[in-house]
Amino acid sequence: MTAAPPLLEVRNLRVEFPSRRGTLVALHDVSFSIAPGEILGVVGESGAGKSMTGAAIIRLLEPPGRIAGGQILLEGRRIDNLSQDEMRRIRGRRIGAIFQDPLTTLNPLYTVGRQLTETMQTHLDLSGSEARARAIGWLEMVGIPAAAQRIDSYPHEFSGGMRQRVVIALALCAEPRLVVADEPTTALDVSIQAQVIALLKRLAREKNTSMMLVTHDMGVIAETADRVAVMYAGRVVEIGPVREVVKHPHHPYSIGLMNSIPPLDHRVERLAQIDGAMPRLNAVPPGCPYNPRCPKVFDRCIVERPDLLDAGSTRAACWLYDPAEPPHV
């Protein structure tokens, strides 16, 4: 990995949801960093805490969710303790966001041009005509044909794929250093997905923008990300370079996840799957949260929770990689 100081650093992030029947802990000790220009993929099952990590970074957690511990640093400065107003100035300007469903992300009553210029004029010192010229430039950059005419169109006049391109332009138009993309292709047709991912990747490279790419699509990750973090039950269970995590995963959960991707080159009788389901937030077992489903579980896993440990090419939260542990088979 690069020696450059990270653009974003998340340290021991803990997110809680106070409820009538006690506090639910949605994120436990989540730590990772993103280098300038790097694309970090975040994968895991639904409910693993991927999207919530993204929401916590831009501080748009659904109430009553709150950050209960840990730190979030952007370019070395803490942003988790900023006031709402200071945080508002960071959103859009320093950290952009892309949401899952382009059909619902755009305000139906405003033209795309107005939404773009409004965003730019909030953050950048631009006159109306400058903002409009830039808005047209952005629409061209994300591949909207006849951008100069389409700028005064309303969202409903665009197809889903085109709308997601507009969303990407909106996320990037104030030139943030980091983009949190939450399942940016999940709601799109498969044929459009590849285009949108290629566009995101190209723009991130051109603008040297870092990206946190949340998805459950391993194909997207393999194609796009530099590094990948695997999440399970509100924890990062493995993190490392994308090739290593995909080809040689170490955590038993990552291994199960990669095995469940159906192979293309030969037919299989039965798709591999991980038995059981991820525990609900109020029923996470003691010790390693994966222990009820883990094929390699042993005594220690049931009582003690592992932190991320060096597992060779990646880091994995699994006692198998504790040097003090005798080799298990």
Binding site: R88, R91, R93, A97, F99, D101, N107, L109, T119, T122
Partner: protein
Amino acid sequence: MFAFVLSRLLQAVPVMLVVALISFAMFAYVGDPVSIMLGQDFTEAQRDALVRDLGLDQPFFVQFARFVGNAIQGEFGLSYRLSRPVAELIAERAPATLELASCAAAIALFVGVPMGVFTGLYRQSWLSRFFLTFSLIGVSLPTFLIGILLILIFSVWLGWLPSFGRGDTVQIGSWSTGFLTGSGLKALVLPAITLGLFQLTLIMRLVRAEMLEVLRTDYIKFARARGLADRSVNFGHALKNTLVPVITIAGLQFGSIIAFAIVTETVFQWPGMGLLFIQSVGAADIPVMAAYLLLIALVFVTINLVVDLLYYAVDPRLRADRGASARGT
């Protein structure tokens, strides 16, 4: 656009005809105008002459066609009670009702909408809870009771405001206005509040419910993720999206305010059309009742048309179906 207005106007024609038929039927089935006009002593020949003069010996449809023809020209005959042309009576009373109704509607809108936005945004604050409790009172107390209570407090106990009548009015052309004199304005306060209170609470609760709905949407979350100012998100993006249902209800309510000013006008002895109608009902003054019925139907039809046109102004998606062809390029 023109075609839309035209088609709406054509749709309004059968509605108005049905109402005209009901109005007309009152003449035929409620009381006997001939015996009312002849009084106690008459000969059979006098009676037949009058029936012929009034055209009552003609077939039903001929009579109805003549009624409609006259109504279009604003000709509703003479009031039985006051022996003056009905059109003149109504024209005399209309300014009082319209001024009262517009003040009530203005109070309902300009107080109700901000209160609705506030209670939607700050659900937990004690002021919101107070507004909601207050609105329950507004919704559940009958209008006449509110009027009487206001008279008791502000006229009888405090002696600040007059308890009945319109105060001094100024004649501008054929329009008599109470807006230009101190006593006219003072006299307007209590009836306008009484008439507007129910609509105010209704609009407030509607705006609140719509705001809660809209604030949960992805596009509001995305607007926040772009770092837009709270004011712009709440009052621009969110409020504008609540407008379509609010316009519908506010429009219909404005119709009701005019139509059902009857109770308020009676409580405050307000010399408007409602009071005229109540007095006419008491005297079985059918020409006035028929004309009033037609007028109110016309008000509702007009308001519906205006509401439909406002939809078009607010929501670009409604323009979509014709947008493709109208756009041309």
